[in-house]
Amino acid sequence: MTGAVRGSIARATAALLLVALMFSATGCQRTVEVQTGTRVVCTYGHVISDNVQMVKVPAKEAAKYQVETVTRLCDRHAKLEALYEAAQKALAAGDLQRAKLKLGQVVATDATFRKAKQQLDTLNKGGKPAPDSTPNNPSVTPTTTPPSTGTTATVPNALTAWTPDAITGFSAKKALVDPLSVSREYLPSAGSNPAAALVIYAEQYLSPAAATAALSTQVKSAYPKNAATIKVNSHSAYFGTDGRQFAVIGFTSGPVMVALEMTAKSGDPAALRSAIEAAAKQLP
């Protein structure tokens, strides 16, 4: 390799190092635009207020900013519901004049509100409409938090007691429910949580002996390291790890085998023992 070539390579390397320094400066200070604010929505579907906006924040703080959706009854629809209810009570009591008055007030504000227009038209033609007995917006209830998760099963399942909707430090995803087993994943709510994920699994066996055998073959043999027997609520439970990434607590409750599996962010699953015990103690 000639000296000139070496010199050129050296110059090019120096230039690339300079660029690398530039990169390290820009990369460390990344800012992102994240949406934040509160959107208030009426139970009848329209937006009452919306102060959602994009703000620039450091990337590592972005997860703190979310959009909160609040659902409540707006003043206008509250008045309409009160007038409509009064009209229905008047119809039920046979007071058609009062009903006509109230329905007229409703229609003047919102001609499409429930059956107000049809009932008023019937009254104006000399008829007597039947009172409307359906409740106000039965499918929507005011909320102040994002909708909570629910199970996918439509039939109540006793196993779902082992996969609660809330575990401290985690947010629950939808449970996967079969007739004889249920599993549910929980994701950490905070970045400081040492766990990357938690899965709770419960399966019904034919007998307590079969559940105990399953605990031995499926849990103890798969997670043989750092083995220990611990007490979780009233259950004698097994704690173990695979030595690389996963920690598990397993126990039986009659013919049901329950297992909690936690994934370590750091690669030291034994360090998850206190965290997984804390999660297990929130089960029945």
Binding site: A12, A15, M22, F23, V32, T149, L187, G191, Q245
Partner: protein, 479 residues
Amino acid sequence: MDRMSTKAALPLATALLGSAAVFVMSTVLSDRLPDTVTAGGAVALAFLLSLPLAGIPRVDALRSARRRDLALAAGGGVAAFWAAPLITLLFRLTDAPPGSEALFLSTTAWGLFTVLACFAVAAERPGFTAGAGALAATAGGAALLANWERPSSFSPFVRYPVSDVAILAAGLIFALGALALAASARELGPRVVAFLGLGGAAAVGVLAAIPVLTASLGSLALEWPALLALAVATTAFAIGWLQTAHVAGTPRAAVALLGAPAAVTALTLAERATGRLGVDPVVWSGAFGGLAALAAGCFAVMAAEGLQASTAVGAPKPPRAVLPLALAGTVAAAATLALPALSAVADGHGEVPFSVKWEMLGLEAAVPWLVLSVAVLVTAVLFDARRGAVRACWVPGLIAAVVCALAVWPLLDTPLRTWTLWIPAGVQQVYGTEYARFAVAAAPSPLLWVSLALSAVAAGLLGYWAWRSDEASQEATTR
């Protein structure tokens, strides 16, 4: 050994298919058998399968060989055929890291490391053009894998940094092992080295597997067909690699690793041929762009002349103007790695209402790496030309540069990183469903086009000068 020999074509193809099959079967066996049993069992069976192919060396030939060469062969085999695959298995689960990441880090990256390591050994030293070709193939391989699906699972060093770094460390071990094997093969020949290398790896592998063998017998009874398939793949890779390295040089053997993503992607063709169709997740426009760059880089590695070729005495030097243009193009391309290249949006509408927009840097996108490859290829051809190795370098080098430049267009919106550490996991887990979306749009820096323009001018001047030099030397020869 400077030029690509047709004798190396078949073993190289065998090694390429072998490397792809090793990856696929390792994924199949991941978590089904203890890793030491998988690694040791596969290489032990591969040793037995290699005996009819490579033969058993004569005892007197081994006795007369230098101990250093015997140790290099055995040690190189242990490193390349047992230790490196075992480390990869230890740090892989079936989908952690995701398959696209594991494939890139355990094949393409290993190939790049091997080519770069060859610069340290005079007998294996490739030309600068070949080194630049390896970089282009790496950029193309990453772009191809990043287009396997959208949103892509290809996000190295984000979710599993420890595993990713460990697999790269295994790649360094493989590269060192490959150099040791090449050094011993220069004295002993590839057949003896195959026997010693695979034999050494088999011996160490079996010893390491013994403690867990008894407990694994039940699993082995179920998984032996997959283990046998892995052994066949290992045999093909090892024999093909050793033969290619002996005939055409270790840098050219590294093409078997650089090209593995293309071979694994080709499995989708088998899927279509058998009619077992599911949803096709591949973004084919981007995938073809990545494939083109990958093939162009491999072509430059294969066809460019090595540095051990003698410099033509009195050969004309390229015009002085080319060097500053080429270097400026390279620095500009490197600068684009630190500048915005893509605009990204992530929205979560399910359990975690979250919406964010940000700019992804060139380091996180495919195109700046390709543009850097173009600039480095042109610069490398120039450096090879300055040492007199013109004829066998400028054609493959400049062709590869042109193909990589054309591949930029379908890859403008390809990110090399989808996952981040600062977006809530609850949003990222459900990307691509009705609960969350991740979208990117191209936003290349103007410096990117400046770099391409500088590289194009430099390449044009260089190509014209090389063509004229070639014509002049041919005229002189006929006179």
